[in-house]
């Protein structure tokens, strides 16, 4: 294919260059070795827009940092990307550091960056969580934060809207000036022939090398001046949104030789990022996290933030910076001896900040070289394939949107409240998502605290329906499933009820919610006061498409021994309560997500719920029973080092895939943790033809029930390795193996005890956490130990009058029989409260 400019690399620099090139009368192609935009350094970095005081004056780093920083407001407004100038602080711990601050300040002055040194008192006034050891700080008001992959993606969208074409899985292996094959002769003075690994060939009059860590290899294919790039790995921890507000500014420590040190920063998404380490690695794609690295991040971050709450870690990851080894500076511009070949080479930190300026600068250089004019501004599209972010919308607008397009009322990712409409839009965009990761980075679905545990099965279903591929295709690898024609999305039916004044509204139709609803109805029955009928109004709202909760996927037996004196399977147990609720005439509204429970000053509560059919609804109710259940601890919370390939699932996700969706995730399985779901899944996977190699438990005894160890592991000769843990996960695209080591009494791995398992799947069964977002929003007092609301066990009343709670939302139960029993108490108490409250 013939074009004017071939941009190699679709990271933030490549996409910025491509977008700026489309402002000129040029045809542009972007060739990306990965399966998506932002697959390299752009997907895993500190997400900081640096002020620019750190770079040595006179370097390209200083120049583009300062220019780029000034452009960020405009660029982010044009591309509709969130950006916040939250300012940054460099902390000094003692006199030596304070000298460094003074140096940084004068460097800032040379670079034209305003800074100010503030005292310890002022620092602690601004950032109450900062360490008391910090003696002073350098304040740079122009520092900011931005979402790097969203910026990259919108750059790509706007480039594509203006005619740039993107080619993925297009790894460039050769660049030459050979006369092009084919019939049409090339008219440019120095045509380049760029060939990809799979044989695709592009004839371009100019080439721009934005290949990140591989930019040396691309340069060395054609330019006489050779470069070498070292991949410098940085490991990070991401903390839950609960910690939003811990710091308002980006908190740096004094920089060292290897980089800017460990920072603690808010992100535009409300999480807190902590990191990075800096370690030169031989393999440019070795993005594994390590035990030592994560320890270093923790220790470094604690220096800034002594109260660092490790329990709030939701993910750990590492990113790669392209460090140019000779000068350590960005190499920007035309390569000498290779006219028409332009480099953006060695763009490490502050690369994100510099990207807008590098884009404009290189585009101007290329345009001058090719002697082309600027496009008529009226012909330049401003489109960035924007879609509404439902979680940020005011209720009235959201209601109107859901009426127009019901898919924006169906919440798929419950942690981040991302709807099906947003996910479909991210796939349908010009440079649309083709992988689970692609969706995640475009929408944040799967990026929240459960890390995709609940939404992965739904996402592969949506990807499959949009792209016309079987859902399994998206579990195979982190790479793209083959591109395919878009399939028509199927509609979905759903029931609904009107606005009304209720006695008891139950959130959740699992065993807890249904038991509470039945008990509430029975308590109200025949005793309701005359003014509002007799039976009492009880309503259950459920986010899933059917009632029954997690029991629907627990197809094994062992439920109900106490309650029904017989051994039932999960669906059978659930069905008893579904039938009971139906016989009592309790409406269960499915496919509806409760977004908010707000207690009212004069009693009762307003409950906001959203569904595809019904849109946004507000229910007024006299009392509420919270029965949202619990979720699994994701990998991030366990801080298991290693790569982050496909093939790592929580036990519940595997249970859903196998038992509900008919999908086998793998053939050779290691299970980490010996929770009951993990044990049950060891047997289920064995039944379904997989080989379960081992169940690995860090503690000295199984956390699951002994009966499950006997009938799920021992019966099938599956070894249970107690006092062992997984110390490394291997595999780039898909899991290829795990390392397991014995741990000492402090749960630290013992060197020399490692063993290796070849496996394609790692299943995590490391405990459950009550799901209490709504509870916290409602202002209910929480118990840190159980992570559930504080309740009076006699009534299951929370600290807020009229709000009750039952089941795993309160604490994680071993047995569903006790969930039902305690939830019935909650239901009866809620009914009594509803009868007594005067509204």
């Amino acid at each position: 294919m013939k074009t004017d400019v071939a941009v190699i690399g679709a990271g933030v620099v490549g996409c910025a260059v491509a977008r700026e090139l489309t402002r000129w009368n040029l045809n542009v192609v972007v060739l990306e070795a990965g399966s998506d935009v932002a697959e390299g350094a752009s997907k895993a970095n500190s997400a900081i827009v640096h002020a620019g005081f750190d770079a040595q004056p006179g370097t390209n780093k200083a120049k583009f940092n300062v220019l780029g920083n000034r452009m960020f407001e405009d660029v982010c407004r044009e591309l509709k990307v969130p950006f916040r100038r939250n300012g940054s602080l460099v902390l000094a711990f003692g006199e030596d550091d304070e000298k460094t601050l003074a140096e940084l300040k004068s460097r800032g002055e040379a670079n034209g960056v305003p800074t100010e040194i503030i005292t310890q008192e002022e620092l602690r006034r601004r950032e109450p969580n900062v360490s008391p050891e910090a003696t002073a700080a350098l304040w740079a008001p122009t520092g900011g934060i931005c979402c790097p992959y969203e910026l990259t993606f919108r750059y790509a969208e706007n480039a594509a809207a203006n005619g740039a074409e993107f080619f993925f899985d297009a790894k460039v292996v050769s660049i030459s000036r050979a006369v092009p094959r084919g019939d049409a002769p090339c008219d440019a003075p120095f045509p380049y022939c760029v060939v990809c690994e799979d044989g695709r060939e592009f004839i371009a009059r100019a080439v721009v090398n934005c290949a990140g860590c591989h930019s040396d290899e691309i340069n060395n294919l054609i330019a006489p001046v050779k470069y070498s790039i070292t991949a410098r790995r940085g490991e990070y921890l991401m903390l839950d949104r609960d910690e939003d507000g811990a710091f308002s500014s980006t908190m740096f420590q004094c920089p060292g030789k290897m980089g800017k040190g460990i920072l603690v920063s808010p992100t535009v998404d409300g999480t807190v990022i902590v990191g990075p380490t800096a370690e030169d690695v031989a393999d440019k794609e070795d993005k594994a996290t390590t035990y030592a690295g994560l320890e270093k991040v923790k220790a470094g971050a604690r220096r800034t933030w002594p109260g660092l709450p490790l329990g709030k870690v939701i993910a750990e990851f590492s990113g790669m910076r392209a460090h140019e080894t000779t000068q350590g500076d960005f190499v920007i511009g035309e390569a000498s001896g290779a006219p028409g070949f332009f480099n953006a080479l060695g763009v490490e930190s502050p690369g994100l900040t510099s990207a807008p300026a590098i884009g404009v600068s290189l585009a101007e250089e290329v345009a001058a070289f090719l002697k082309v004019s600027r496009k008529n501004p009226s012909l330049i599209s401003k489109d960035v394939s924007w879609w509404p972010k439902t979680r940020e919308m005011p209720p009235e607008e959201l209601a109107a949107l859901v009426e127009r397009d019901p898919s924006f009322g169906r919440v798929v990712c419950r942690c981040e409240e991302i709807t099906e409409g947003e996910i479909r839009a991210s796939i349908r965009a010009r440079v649309g998502a083709r992988t689970l990761d692609g969706i995640k980075r475009r929408t944040r679905s799967g990026m929240g605290r459960c890390q995709g545990g609940f939404c992965t099965p739904r996402l592969i279903e949506i990807l499959g329906s949009e792209l016309g591929l079987p859902p399994e295709a998206f579990l195979l690898s982190r790479k793209t499933a083959p591109l395919a024609l878009k399939a028509q999305a199927a509609g979905n039916g759903e029931q609904g009820t009107g606005n009304g004044f209720l006695d008891v509204l139950v959130v959740g139709a699992g065993p807890a919610g249904l038991a509470a609803a039945c008990a509430a109805k029975e308590t109200l029955r025949g005793t309701g006061n005359g003014e509002r009928g007799t039976d009492g109004n009880v309503l259950v709202i459920e986010r899933d498409d059917a009632p029954g909760g997690i029991l629907q996927q627990c197809i094994h037996n062992g439920f109900g021994l106490h309650r029904f004196k017989e051994e039932l399977t999960g669906p059978e147990y659930a069905q008893r309560f579904v039938d009971k609720a139906a016989s009592l005439g309790i409406p269960v509204v499915c496919g509806t997500m409760v977004l908010d429970v707000q207690p009212q000053p004069d009693g009762g509560a307003r409950v906001t719920a959203m569904s595809p059919r019904g849109g946004l609804k507000i229910y007024k109710t006299r009392s509420v029973v919270l029965a949202m259940g619990c979720r699994e601890r994701p990998r991030g919370a366990l801080m298991t080092p290693g790569t982050r390939p496909a093939g790592v699932y929580t036990a519940g996700t595997v249970q859903r895939l196998v038992n509900m969706d008919g999908i086998m995730p793998g053939r050779r399985v290691v299970i980490l943790g010996s929770g009951d779901i993990g044990l049950i899944m060891a047997r289920r996977l064995t039944f379904s033809g997989a080989k379960v190699l081992a169940c690995v438990e860090i503690m000295k005894k199984s956390s699951g029930l002994m009966r499950n160890v006997v009938q799920c592991l021992n019966d099938y000769d599956i070894p249970l390795l107690l006092s062992h843990t997984v110390t490394d996960v291997e595999g780039r695209e898909h899991v290829t193996g795990v390392k397991v080591a014995k741990v000492d009494d402090n749960l630290k791995p013992i060197p020399g005890t490692e063993m290796h398992f070849d496996c394609d799947t790692l299943v995590l069964s490391c405990g459950l956490i009550p799901e209490n977002e709504l509870t916290k929003k409602a202002g209910v007092e929480m118990v840190p130990k159980t992570r559930g609301p504080k309740v009076d066990p006699k009534t299951m009343a929370t600290s807020v009058p009229g709000i009750f709670a039952g089941g795993n939302v309160v604490r994680v139960y071993d047995l569903v029989d006790w969930v039902s029993r305690d939830s019935e108490i909650a239901g009866r108490s809620a009914a009594k409260y509803a009868k007594e409250v005067r509204l």
């Binding site: 629907q552 197809i555 094994h556 037996n557 062992g558 021994l561 051994e567 039932l568 399977t569 669906p571 059978e572 069905q575 196998v658 038992n659 509900m660 969706d661 008919g662 999908i663 039944f687 379904s688 029930l705 002994m706 009966r707 160890v709 006997v710 009938q711 019966d715 071993d814 047995l815």
Partner: protein, 114 residues
């Protein structure tokens, strides 16, 4: 020998002794079900099997179980029979899906309404 009762979540750890005359003595159990389990586990261990069968025209499988426990040695045969089976909807809880599965004398029944 030591044995853990699988009847209920309590998981009693029992001492089970088989005498030469064929009698079995059980201690450590909290209820009679433990004794019954231990005796049967020594003579003829049995298990409930829960599993999945294919549904015609659908990806989602139907969950099923053996109505009562079957001999432990027959689990593979039961799983094979489940694998060979495809059901037509609708199905209700308790519907017999495979009568006398793998000649165990036990029926496989549906455990969900679909």
């Amino acid at each position: 020998m030591k044995m853990i009762c699988i009847n209920c979540p309590r998981g009693c750890e029992m001492d089970v002794e088989k005498r030469d005359n064929g009698d079995v003595s059980v201690s450590g159990n909290a209820c009679p079900r433990g004794e019954a389990y231990a005796k049967s586990e020594i003579v003829n261990p049995t298990r409930m099997v829960t599993g999945l069968v294919r549904v015609a025209g659908m990806r989602k499988p139907l969950p099923v179980k053996t109505r009562t426990a079957i001999p432990k040695g027959r689990i593979d045969a039961v799983l094979f029979a489940l694998h060979q089976t495809t059901v037509q909807l609708p199905v209700k809880i308790g519907d017999v899906i495979i009568p006398d599965v793998a000649e165990t004398g036990v029926d496989v029944v549906a455990t969900a309404n679909m």
